[in-house]
């Protein structure tokens, strides 16, 4: 399969992001043609993704500006008429989900989301310690969970996450596969 795998990156390493990259590597090792589309961030030089290939869109990693810049660059990249059409786009849960879903709809691409958890907005807000963090939490929640019903499928990392995602998007096909655990 020809797969485009999209994920955000930030200044902090996050387990979910590393796991997404390991999944990209796993699919490429199974002889799929995997291209990872991401932005500059903490995963650079942390994990070997070969035989997958990677395109990093350069952004300024600062709050609000970084994500906004990535969203614009990502949407522009995906919308390019010259972009080779993948059989499926897999997007890692985060702020890349909504822009990916919108462009994919316009270009008639199949999009599958990879979700590591299923949090309510209340849960996300509980850990936001300042007004700007609360705003970030609301935006993040919306960009990540609002498009759930518009995905062609959802890959979840555990049965527990699957149960919670089913309550948020009952009609979307969901499967639980676990994360790649290797040392």
């Amino acid at each position: 399969m020809n797969l485009l795998m999209v994920t955000e990156d930030t200044v902090y390493l996050a387990g979910g992001r590393i796991e997404f990259l390991k999944l990209c590597r796993a699919l490429a090792a199974l002889k799929h043609n995997v291209t990872i589309l991401t932005c500059s961030g903490a995963t650079e030089d942390i994990i070997d993704i070969e035989p997958a290939r990677m395109i990093r869109l350069r952004i300024w990693q600062t709050r609000f500006i970084g994500p906004a810049q990535f969203i614009v660059k990502l949407a522009t990249y995906l919308a390019r008429p010259s972009m080779e059409k993948p059989e499926a786009v897999i997007v890692n849960a985060g702020y890349a989900v909504l822009p990916t879903v919108i462009v994919a709809k316009l270009k008639n691409l199949k999009v599958v989301g990879l979700y590591h958890d299923a949090l309510t907005l209340t849960q996300l807000l509980r850990y936001a310690i300042s007004p700007t963090r609360k705003l970030t939490a609301v935006m993040r929640w919306f960009l990540m969970y609002a498009p759930l019903g518009h995905l062609h499928g959802v890959i979840s990392v555990s049965p527990w996450t699957t149960d919670r995602l089913r309550k948020m998007a009952a009609k979307t096909p969901i499967t639980s596969v676990g994360d790649v655990v290797e040392v």
Partner: protein, 173 residues
Amino acid sequence: MQRVLTVARLEANKRPWDFVKVAELVNKKVDTEFVWIGHGTLLKNFFKLGKPYIKFAGKLSEREKSELMRSSNVYVSTSEMEGFNVTVGEALLHELIAIVYDLPVYRSVYKDTVIYVPLGDIERMAGSVIDSLCHRDAYVERVMKGKELVRANYSSEAVGRAVENFLAKILMD
């Protein structure tokens, strides 16, 4: 000296203060180094703890993390919110005894191969760490079962194939 390790972003939902308290309680009975691998917005709060047996190592590469795991004895997770927690699986692959807060997700992923402590019960977690450090043999069977479980279900090939099958189904619709 024995070592207890955790790998997580330094954020409130990972409860790093619980980790520090557990380290203090354990070190009253057994000399043990506690190492936290991971960066995050709270890192600045843990720079000057003044406890020589607690180390916040920050961001490490996968190889450096693996090396530290290999030379540790026990893995703890004080996190109160997880979707899977791959580092628990990595700890099992390194044959570490894993002690975690009792979250529903772990029951479905790691089953009975890790030691569960009620969420927020620092004394119980410290007690479990001390017991694991002092009586490692009693936990060997559980750890090896965990290692097999992770190898069988969460290898690169197993997860890759599961995703491959799901995608094939989606593409046929």
